[in-house]
């Protein structure tokens, strides 16, 4: 059963720290590879050996269920030894600096480190101190490259391509690394991107990211092929950026009425975890246009693709 993937794509870099800097060919190569893993993951025998003998450490300074388990499964299916470290158990809680943690981990000779950190730029900082490959699993409000890749794969499989589509990214753009990675990727692949949010949730200068900007959903969703909702980071919201969850839902929450502004058959996406009744109505989240569950499936495949493509570049590969 252990057949090498047909695609021989190699990501010619040591780390995947962001979508920024990836070429169109890089993105297509990763998506093609991901496509193969989707098929593999639907079989009974899901195991590959391309990462056999490799050590993958998932270092999560910020709790995450789906991303961490997705990376864990991806690594295991490719045959790597996977270790999960979360901040709760780590020495960081005892005051160790990020750099010291890096030096300590480096001494254990991992091959691939998957890192999530609450501070923008922290993953890059770690990568500069380590000898192994580093994959950014989300740093602050900066980037979340594998999320953008899995979103792209979901779109490509449903719409046959990405170029020329109008993608509306809605909600808390300000705090969202998902939005930033997606904006870069979708622009690179030739999609039209529109961000939709109250002004308080838009970063200053967003109009120079190569996106259209809309403040209301009617205008924002008009003609959209894809409606990508973002999670409202509720813990920092009330009264500060928006007045209340109910007002937010009233004006920016995706319900059937607002979805009707988009093109018929537009896809509804959400990176999860969802706040039902805040940014999205259950009827829409679970409706026929929703591909939210498919996004989770694509997540494992795309992460396998990233691990595979990076591992082909590792020493002794």
């Amino acid at each position: 059963m252990n057949i090498a993937p047909k695609s021989s794509f190699v990501l010619s870099r040591r780390h995947l720290l962001g979508i920024e800097g990836l070429s169109r060919d890089d993105i297509s190569g990763l998506l093609d590879l991901g496509e193969e893993f989707v098929e593999l993951n639907r079989q009974v025998e899901k195991k590959r050996t391309s990462l056999r003998g490799r050590t993958q450490i998932n270092l999560f300074f910020e709790s995450s269920t789906r991303t961490q388990s997705s990376f864990e499964l991806a690594g295991k299916r490719l045959g790597a030894d996977v270790m999960n470290m979360s901040v709760g158990q780590s020495a960081m809680r005892k005051g160790e600096t990020l750099i010291d943690t890096a030096i300590t981990l480096n001494a254990m000779h991992p091959d691939i480190l998957v890192v999530r950190h609450h501070a923008s730029g922290a993953v890059e900082l770690l990568a500069s101190k380590l000898d192994c490959s580093v994959i950014n699993a989300g740093d602050g409000a900066h980037e979340h490259p594998t999320q953008a890749l899995l979103d792209a794969l979901t779109i490509r499989r449903n719409k046959g391509g990405i170029e020329g589509l109008l993608v509306a990214i809605c909600g808390d753009i300000l705090h969202s690394r998902v939005a930033r990675s997606n904006i870069i990727l979708l622009n690179q692949m030739g999609a039209r991107v529109r961000v939709v949010a109250p002004s308080t949730l838009l970063p200053p200068g967003i109009e120079r990211f190569g996106v259209e900007v809309a403040r209301d959903m009617r205008e924002g969703l008009n003609g959209a092929d894809i409606v990508m909702m973002l999670r409202l980071q509720r813990e920092r919201m009330n009264g500060s950026y928006i007045p209340s969850l109910s007002e937010y839902f009233h004006y920016w929450g995706l319900d059937e009425k607002k979805l009707a502004y988009a093109k018929p058959g537009a896809l509804v996406m959400h990176p999860g975890p969802m706040n039902r009744g805040v940014e999205i109505d259950s009827i829409v989240a679970d409706g026929v246009q929703s591909v939210i569950r498919e996004q989770v499936e694509m997540g494992v495949a795309v992460r396998m693709a990233v691990l595979e493509a990076l591992s082909r570049n590792l020493p002794n590969a």
Partner: protein
């Protein structure tokens, strides 16, 4: 009762002044079906509809009803001070056809249900138009912005924390930014509470002689300057609620020159009185912001004449005996003003300090424009909110004649010239001086 009559009305042979279009003629104004039909010479001579009530207004002024951007009405929660009914009676007697009531009530007007309550209550009890402003922050606490979108949809015409300043600049910035998405107007009281401290009147030699702690003008300019910079950052629509001193005018001018969406009000008190009127500790002249020096007053009037200050408001604030008959420092600030704002303003016209049309513009056309309301004009098709004024009638103000529930007027026993003789709201006469 004739007051509810909706027959057409012809105000004949009047001096008609419409500041919304620099219109000043002697002629007739025809009102029918609650709206203004037309204003020109000779309507009466050409024949009016059957049943028209023809009122001879020879020698009198006809102008748009006043729109008062800032009046405290006690409902809900302080009906002993003023109700929507009593405030509207006072307004009608003063020529005010639209009251904008303030949200610092009990409970605070900070949710759509309370806006709805005020609107219903006004519909049932008030004889002039009433529109509430809603709170800018929940509970007027200056911490979390209110549901600006839903409140505006419910009928709030602007957002303000009443007589409180939002001291947290981040809260103010976000509120301005967010309000901009709904094209909502933020009306902000500009007075830094820390600089006010325990001050009770203008910081000056006079205050020192009275042995009263002063409030520096910087308390106002610091906050206004901060706000203008936040408006520049966020691009919201901003209105300074009550400007009291000359230094603020420079700040305003710069904001307007920079093209920011900034407007401002001054109260009738600040353009007709100064700190010396406090005299022997008269608590009816204890106001927030405090009355300033005569030079400030003069420059405020000039700023209104030139349009730098957009609107004059009453700052109507009824206080009863137990909050006013106290030593100056302990008395509550505020004065009533709905009933006297026009007549007090006419003092400035009679003394030649301001053009009549400029005064009327600042009391009717501009506030309607700033708030996006339909009044403040005599153009054909506009709502028939109209006043008839005898500009030259001399009278002495007897507080007992005032309609307001509280009598804390700074014009107690004042000799005045000019008074409203008829007030028409939506084509119906709601007040007549006999």
């Amino acid at each position: 009762m004739m007051l509810s009559d909706r027959r057409p009305i012809l105000l004949a042979n009047a001096r008609i002044v419409d500041p919304s279009r620099d219109f000043d003629i002697v002629g007739d104004l025809l009102i029918a079906d609650g709206t203004i039909r037309e204003a020109k010479k000779g309507i009466g001579a050409a024949g009016v509809p059957e049943g028209t009530d023809v009122i001879d207004c020879r020698g009198k002024l006809v102008a748009p009803g006043l729109v008062d951007m800032r009046a405290f009405v006690g409902e809900p929660g302080a009906g002993h001070r003023e109700t929507l009914a009593s405030a509207s009676q006072a307004a009608a007697a003063g020529g005010v056809t639209t009251i904008i009531c303030q949200p610092n009530t009990s409970p605070v007007i900070d949710d759509p249900a309370t806006v709805d309550f005020v609107l219903r209550r006004a519909r049932d009890t008030a004889i002039v138009h009433v529109h509430p402003m809603a709170a800018l922050t929940k509970g007027l606490e200056g911490k979390e912005m209110t549901e600006i979108g839903l409140l505006k949809a419910a009928g709030a015409v602007a957002f303000t924390d009443g007589d409180k300043s939002v001291t947290n600049a981040q809260v103010m910035r976000r509120a301005l930014t967010y309000a901009g998405d709904f094209d909502a107007l933020i009306v902000h009281y500009t007075e830094d509470p820390d600089l006010v401290g325990d001050g009770v009147m203008n910081e000056s030699e006079f205050a020192a002689r009275l042995g009263l702690l002063g409030i520096p003008k910087a308390a106002e300019t610091v906050m206004l300057e901060r706000d203008i910079r936040l408006v520049a950052l966020s691009g919201g629509r901003y209105h300074a609620a009550s400007i009291s001193c000359a230094e603020s005018l420079d700040v305003l001018r710069r904001a307007k020159d920079a093209g920011l969406s900034v407007t401002a009000s001054a109260s009738i008190n600040h353009i007709t009185l100064n700190e010396n009127d406090i005299g022997p500790y008269r608590t009816f002249l204890k106001l927030s912001p405090p009355l300033r020096a005569e030079d400030d007053r003069k420059l405020l009037v000039e700023a209104i004449d030139r349009g730098l200050i957009d609107t004059i408001m009453s700052d109507h604030n009824p206080q009863d005996v137990e909050t006013k008959r106290l030593p100056f420092a302990e008395a509550a600030p505020g004065a009533i003003g709905l009933e006297t704002m026009l007549t007090a303003g006419l003092r400035l016209v009679h003394s030649g300090e301001i053009e009549l049309i400029a005064l009327l513009r600042a009391m009717s056309t501009r506030p309607a424009e700033v708030l996006g309301l339909p009044g403040g004009t005599l153009k054909s098709g506009a709502p028939a909110d109209v006043i008839v004024v005898d500009l030259d009638m001399p009278w002495v103000l007897d507080p007992l004649d005032l309609k307001s529930k509280c009598k804390n007027t700074p014009f107690d026993e004042a000799r005045l010239t000019g008074r409203v003789v008829r007030t028409i709201v939506a084509g119906r006469t709601v007040y007549e001086y006999v």
